[in-house]
């Protein structure tokens, strides 16, 4: 009996240790980002490294907007994200609906095509895509970024939408048909409202993935007025000499660029492994 108790204690102690190790491993960088973002300029470069700012310098968050033209980056990221979301829904909803509820030629082949295209690395085809966009005059233009983000998120989003349309009972659609609904009306009037939660999650995923996209945003834009926030952040490091990087402002910018995403992600966390994304993420 006593031995059992000791065992249980030891187990609990071990568990606590692992939990603490986990928290340190996962959040140390996050804490580093926030603390550095609040350091006054002179403490950033002090050695040995100060773990905490002597007093929080909130003005960094204002200065980053004034000095680094982060606002333009934000605007560009939002434009590209909204363009991507609208296009992806216009193309993805009908496709996902058909894949879930309708019969058409080559249904299996198209399903596997979507599944496999999800695995496809954009970098493999970036040379011809760059040439294509160049021929269409879309380099340094947000339209090319929208097209690329749509292409490389479409499969993922369609699979996600398909599984939320799978939850719409066939009986409901059949009774609508008897009442004289066409197939397209059945999609708009009945399936969309039922699948609306899944669509909301899909929108958030499309938003976060577009917001985070680096390869095309970095390669296809040249002028500073067109660059997304992600590229702008990276370029502060790239364009400054190693010794002169204003780390406190970079971290303030990084915190600002992360916050909306973290909130969105945590709000949909149960869908990351849940039903809606079955077949999409995993």
């Amino acid at each position: 009996m006593n031995r059992n108790k000791i065992r249980k204690r030891a187990y609990k102690f071990l568990l606590a240790l692992v939990v603490i190790a986990m928290i340190v491993f996962l959040f140390f960088p996050v804490v580093a980002m926030i603390t550095v973002s609040l350091k006054p300029a002179n403490e950033v470069f002090s050695r040995p490294v100060r773990w905490l700012p002597s007093e929080p310098a909130w003005e960094n968050y204002i200065e980053v907007f004034e000095k680094m033209d982060i606002l333009v980056g934000f605007k560009n990221s939002i434009i590209v994200a909204i363009g991507t979301i609208i296009t992806i829904l216009l193309i993805g909803i009908p496709a996902a609906y058909a894949m879930s509820k309708l019969d058409y030629w080559f249904k299996d082949i198209i399903y596997y095509l979507v599944l496999v295209s999800q695995m496809f690395a954009p970098i493999i085809v970036i040379i011809p895509l760059y040439q294509q966009m160049n021929n269409w005059g879309l380099i340094d233009n947000h339209v090319s970024l929208v097209l690329m983000n749509v292409t490389f998120n479409l499969a993922f989003i369609v699979l996600m939408l398909k599984s939320s349309f799978d939850n719409v009972p066939v009986e409901v659609l059949e009774s609508a048909k008897i009442d004289g609904c066409s197939r397209f009306q059945a999609l708009i009037r009945i399936s969309l409202p039922i699948a609306s939660m899944g669509i909301a999650v899909a929108i958030i995923f499309a938003f976060t993935r577009t917001w985070n996209e680096f390869l095309f945003a970095f390669t296809f834009t040249a002028s500073t007025s067109k660059k997304t926030i992600i590229v702008k952040l990276y370029e502060i490091l790239k364009n400054n000499p190693a010794i002169g990087i204003p780390w406190h402002l970079v971290m303030a910018g990084a915190t600002i660029a992360t916050t909306p995403l973290v909130i969105l992600f945590i709000s949909i966390r149960k869908y990351i492994t849940g039903d809606v994304t079955k077949g999409a993420i995993k």
């Binding site: 568990l15 606590a16 986990m22 928290i23 996962l26 959040f27 140390f28 960088p29 996050v30 980002m33 950033v44 470069f45 050695r47 040995p48 490294v49 773990w51 193309i91 993805g92 009908p94 496709a95 058909a98 309708l102 019969d103 058409y104 030629w105 095509l113 979507v114 599944l115 295209s117 695995m119 496809f120 690395a121 970098i123 493999i124 085809v125 970036i126 040379i127 011809p128 895509l129 294509q132 479409l154 976060t208 985070n212 680096f214 992600i230 590229v231 952040l233 490091l237 660029a257 992360t258 995403l261 973290v262 969105l264 945590i266 966390r269 990351i272 492994t273 077949g279 993420i281 995993k282």
Partner: protein, 293 residues
């Protein structure tokens, strides 16, 4: 019968826009890359058909052995680390303790952070003079003097790999946790009655039952890792001297920095072949997934 065929044809219109996107921006470019891989494309636009020379040049180059080795380490060591750490975290979260719900919520932060942000943060932490990690290792007397983890060919790949593991492990943890919860508790109860201890239950039941799910997950994050150009590029641009480059970095470098498009296309095709193999494995593994209901 005939009407069915008409419906099947008109229904194709629903998926047509999607297929057009795939055709124009994936299928047609990949065919073009395939053609380019047999060409030498000069800076002035002249093109010469050189058969397999680009491929031969790649496999004979001194970059190839290093980059292939790096890719192997990046993908396989990375996946193993992500899955093991993810499994450990999932097993911890399977227990009940104070703050568990909060922890499962916020642990996605590393995964939710934009890659550019995490790279910026880790680059500061690795900084030889102002970095937290350097300072910590100095304080603990593990390091005698500051070193540049990202600027040293011996440590650069490992340093970037740690960032990638940090970002993806929580995603693995939540997925494995979902698999753990899908195992009905009566299986464990039955095993307890049969006298099985914790360790036996873990090795004989848990590992067994989550194996298919974890295999699918491993293939998926392996494919992601293989494709993850951005993390490496933003941390080290593949350097120093390609010591942290994987295949996709080599593609980008040759395409946009050396303007060597035929050669870059040949490497792209090699990537494509490797990816196709893993995609087939992934789809097959996914189709074998089981549920216990």
């Amino acid at each position: 019968m005939k009407r069915d065929n008409i419906i099947k044809t008109t229904n194709l219109l629903y998926v047509l826009p999607m297929l057009i996107f795939f055709g124009v921006f994936i299928l047609s470019p990949i065919i073009q890359v395939f053609e380019n891989s047999f060409l030498q494309i000069k800076a002035n636009g002249d093109v010469e058909f050189i058969q397999f020379d680009n491929y031969i040049k790649f496999f004979n180059s001194k970059d190839a052995s290093m980059v292939l080795k790096n890719t192997f380490i990046w993908v396989f060591v990375g996946v193993a680390a992500k899955i093991l750490i993810g499994l450990l975290m999932a097993l911890v979260l399977y227990n009940n303790f104070v703050g568990k719900r909060v922890l499962t919520g916020v642990m996605l932060i590393p995964y939710a952070m934009p890659a550019a942000v995490s790279c910026v943060v880790w680059r500061l932490m690795y900084h030889p003079t102002f970095g937290h990690i350097t300072q910590l290792l100095l304080d603990l007397n593990i390091l005698e003097r500051p070193m540049s983890f990202l600027g040293n060919p011996a440590t650069s790949l490992l340093a970037v790999l740690i960032v990638n593991v940090w970002a993806v492990a929580p995603f693995c943890a939540l997925n494995i946790l979902a698999s753990l919860y899908s195992i009905p508790t009566y299986i464990y109860e039955a095993a307890s009655i049969d006298g099985a201890g914790h360790l036996r239950k873990f090795f004989h039941i848990t590992i067994h039952l989550i194996f298919t799910d974890v295999r699918t997950l491993a293939l998926l994050i392996g494919i992601w890792a293989f494709n993850s150009f951005d993390v490496i590029y933003m941390m080290t641009t593949g350097g120093p001297a390609n010591s942290s480059s994987i295949l996709v970095n080599l593609v980008y470098q040759n395409a946009f920095e050396f303007n060597n498009r035929g050669y870059a296309s040949a490497i792209s095709i090699i990537c494509f072949i490797i990816l196709s193999i893993f995609s087939v494995l992934y789809v097959r593994s996914k189709n074998k997934e089981v549920s216990f209901e």
